[in-house]
Amino acid sequence: MEVLAYLVPLALALGLIGLMGFLWSLRSGQYDDLDGAGWRAITDDDHPMPPS
């Protein structure tokens, strides 16, 4: 059971990192436009848009 001595802190640290990540993503505005973000991922950057 000595394994708990480092597994438990590790689990807690991982949880904290996850939470930090979430708070960071929130602060950097990644939840401001949920509809647009999905589309941005699949658009091609290298092709110019055809003229409308």
Binding site: L12, G36, W39, M49, S52
Partner: protein
């Protein structure tokens, strides 16, 4: 007169030589639009950022300060095919956004804590049936406490604060039993862990907060979205005023940049965007949006004009007044204030449910404790069991029962063209048994229409339309719209107060007053048939035609009223307009109960009478004079064309030309209320199953967690049934 547009009011200075501007953009609905706009604007030199927000339909722009005139962006967007206008978020919207972010942060904290506590709880639960040693169990409990306590202290804030406010006002809301439950569960768990006991409820307490925060966040997000959309609508109206920047120079500036004391120019055919007093000029003004009266009023120096009034014939110079200067506006503001106070007494369904629920639950817990003591159990065991009862009955599903339905129904309403201004409007609409309509601008369309277009040859209509394009007069504008003409004739001469003349193929054309075109006899025939009609005459050589122009009833007004009556709802018309006009509209729509010539105070008195006789009244209106009546009714709707004041006073705003959204709002709300009640019954029923287990003393943390998530998921699934309402209603 060349007019400059000035958007500098909206431009924010970011420092470091950068300027920032937010634009509301109409018609951005897909990824293609988003990319087209971003690329189109990034291509302008010196633009450092162009980013579309597809959720809020807005565009954020940043550029090197001084390099570009912001007007260029709006023109560029217009060239790309999008109507855009700068906007400034109103205070209410900023608050909603902050609130929504705070709730999301709380939800994040609570969800991460729940996951980690669960990771520790599952070994304890399985260890209890196998061979976990007590020291390990205690260690895991202490770790859970380490995670759950700070997380609950942070993520519980929305509930604790609201419960505290309610208690201080000597009332009870849903957050009171929630807060008591969470605090007791955590407190007892610490004591139990200290005494090396088998069960601790850290997991149940933090999971409860997570589920409830999901409900809160959904609710908040719905409100934030509608606020953003309403903000866009307000911005895209692009209300500008022509302001004198010196005695001879004028500039077109956004209304937000006009200050009291400024002098603005009001040309014929323009709608006034500010409140003030005429200082120079004579004209007639159409105040139908404000008072409901469709007859024109004479304006001369000293006359008060209000936002929404249309200038008809002459140029006016208006000095902008402070908000409550005019007598009408001051009176309306007073009435509005009183009416708003009266309405805040409404108790929301969730709070009514918790007023019944909380005492029952707390009494049950108390009786359980006393019962166990009476049966010979120790005080410690009795208290632990009583707290377990409180945890099991904590209104987790109750907290989700209403927000989930509200969110889904708000989405359906949005698709039907209805925007919610207040979250509890759905509950209040569902009870409505009387609908009161204002006439002008609500039952009728706000713009004038040519009624007899079908009786006039198409080529004549086309010619008249091309001539009409040169005039700003609202009646001429109606002719231009009816003809769908796009290119004005060349060489048109306007004769002030009379009409316009022009030439086509060598024949003289005239459009204007009947006397101007020698068509008095024909015009009088038309005028005698309908009290609300205006006429404009057109002559081509010796041929004479007369166009009859009036505010038309909304296309589906009669149908909507019939369906409302079929649903058992009483329909009435209360109007500030003259009797003959109201009588005609009422008979066309088949409404028997109508009253004309009412003041704002009369309307309120009538609504109060109806409310006293036990009726639930919905008011649908758009005029400035309707604002107090909107606020005094149980629930209210306003078309999007309405004046600011009535739009702010209404619970719901509807879009489009039709009245169908009124019917959709009632149908969807009724369905929603049904689902909310079902959800409450489901949630309480689930608790009734679990409570005997808790009273008997068998409620382990495992059972508490299962009961909580089980009932929450069930309630959410039931709410999703609201999604299916759409097609049947439309």
């Amino acid at each position: 007169m060349a007019v400059t547009r000035d958007f500098s009011h909206y431009v924010k200075d970011l420092g470091a030589g950068l300027a920032h501007l937010d634009l509301a953009v109409e018609g951005v609905s897909c990824a293609g639009c988003m990319m087209k706009i971003e690329r189109g604007l990034s291509a302008i030199p010196d633009v450092t950022l162009a980013r579309v927000n597809l959720t809020d339909r807005r565009l954020a722009l940043e550029w090197k300060k001084g390099a570009i005139d912001p007007v260029q962006f709006v023109d560029r967007l217009a060239a790309l095919g999008y109507k855009a206008y700068p906007f400034e978020p109103v205070r209410a919207e900023v608050v909603e956004v902050e609130q929504s972010q705070f709730l999301l942060r709380c939800l994040g904290v609570a969800a991460f804590a729940t996951m980690n506590v669960m990771m520790l709880s599952v070994p304890v639960w399985s260890g209890n049936v196998t061979d976990m040693i007590p020291e390990q169990r205690d260690f895991f409990h202490w770790l859970s406490a380490l995670i759950a306590l700070p997380a609950a202290a942070y993520a519980g804030q929305p509930f604790f604060r609201s419960a505290f406010t309610a208690l201080r006002a000597r009332s009870v809301n849903m957050d009171v039993p929630i807060s008591i439950g969470v605090v007791l569960a955590l407190g007892m768990s610490i004591v139990e862990t200290f005494h090396h006991a088998e069960h601790a409820y850290f997991d149940a307490a933090i999971m409860l907060l997570t589920f409830l925060l999901v409900g809160r966040y959904l609710d908040q997000n719905m409100r934030r979205r509608t606020r953003a959309f309403a903000g866009n609508l307000a911005a895209l109206k692009a209300e500008t005023a022509t302001k004198f920047i010196s005695p001879t120079e004028i500039s077109e500036v956004p209304v937000a940049a006009i200050a009291p004391g400024d002098i603005v120019l009001l040309r014929p055919g323009e709608r006034c965007a500010i409140d003030g007093k005429v200082i120079e000029g004579r004209s007639e003004i159409d105040q139908s949006l404000i008072t409901g009266e469709t007859r024109y009023v004479a304006a001369e120096p000293g006359t008060s004009v209000y936002a929404g009034a249309m200038n008809i014939s002459g140029m006016l110079r208006v000095r902008v007044g402070v908000a409550a200067e005019g007598t009408l506006l001051a009176e309306i503001s007073q009435l509005l204030e009183k009416a708003v106070q009266a309405r805040s007494r409404y108790v929301r369904l969730a709070d009514r449910a918790s007023r019944l629920y909380a005492p029952v639950v707390h009494a049950t817990a108390l009786l359980t404790m006393l019962g166990w003591v009476a049966l010979g159990a120790s005080w410690h065991d009795a208290i632990v069991i009583a707290i377990a009862v409180l945890i099991i009955t904590c209104p987790c599903a109750l907290g989700l029962a209403i927000p989930t339905v509200q969110t889904i129904v708000a989405g359906a309403l949005f698709r039907a063209g209805v925007l919610l201004n207040s979250g509890d409007a759905i509950e209040r609409v569902a009870d409505v048994d009387t609908v009161i309509f204002d006439k002008t601008g609500t039952l009728t369309l706000p713009e004038l229409d040519v009624v007899n277009a079908a009786a006039i040859p198409a080529d004549v209509l086309q010619l008249a339309g091309r001539l009409a394009l040169a005039s700003h007069h609202p009646v001429a504008a109606a002719v231009a719209r009816a003809s769908k003409a796009v290119s004005p004739l060349e060489g048109i001469v306007e004769e002030p107060g009379q009409g316009v003349t022009g030439l086509a193929d060598g024949v003289e054309l005239k459009l204007g007053r009947p006397s101007f075109c020698n068509a008095d006899r024909m015009a009088n025939e038309i005028l005698s048939t309908d009290p609300e009609i205006s006429v404009v005459a057109f002559s081509r050589g010796q041929d004479r035609y007369v166009f009859a122009v009036r505010q038309q009833l909304r296309p589906d007004a009669a149908l909507t009223i019939r369906t409302l009556v079929n649903r058992g709802i009483a329909v009435q018309i209360l109007s500030g307009d003259r009797e003959p006009a109201v009588r005609l509209a009422a008979s066309a729509l088949g409404v028997l109960a109508w009253r004309a010539g009412l003041t704002p105070a009369d309307k309120i008195a009538h609504i109060e009478d109806l409310k006293r006789s036990g009726r639930k009244v919905m008011m649908v209106g758009d005029g400035l004079n309707d604002a107090p009546a909107l606020a005094s009714a149980s629930v209210s709707m306003s078309p999007v064309s309405a004046t600011h004041l009535s739009q702010a006073a209404a619970d719901m705003i509807f879009l489009g030309e039709g009245l169908a959204p009124v019917r959709a709002a009632i149908d969807l709300s009724r369905k929603a209320l049904l689902l909310m009640r079902e959800n409450l019954v489901l949630a309480i029923g689930y608790n009734l199953l679990a409570v005997p287990i808790a009273i008997a003393g068998y409620a382990t943390p495992l059972i508490a967690a299962a009961a909580m998530s089980g009932s929450s998921v069930l309630v959410m699934l039931n709410s999703l049934r609201a999604r299916r309402v759409g097609p049947e209603v439309m």
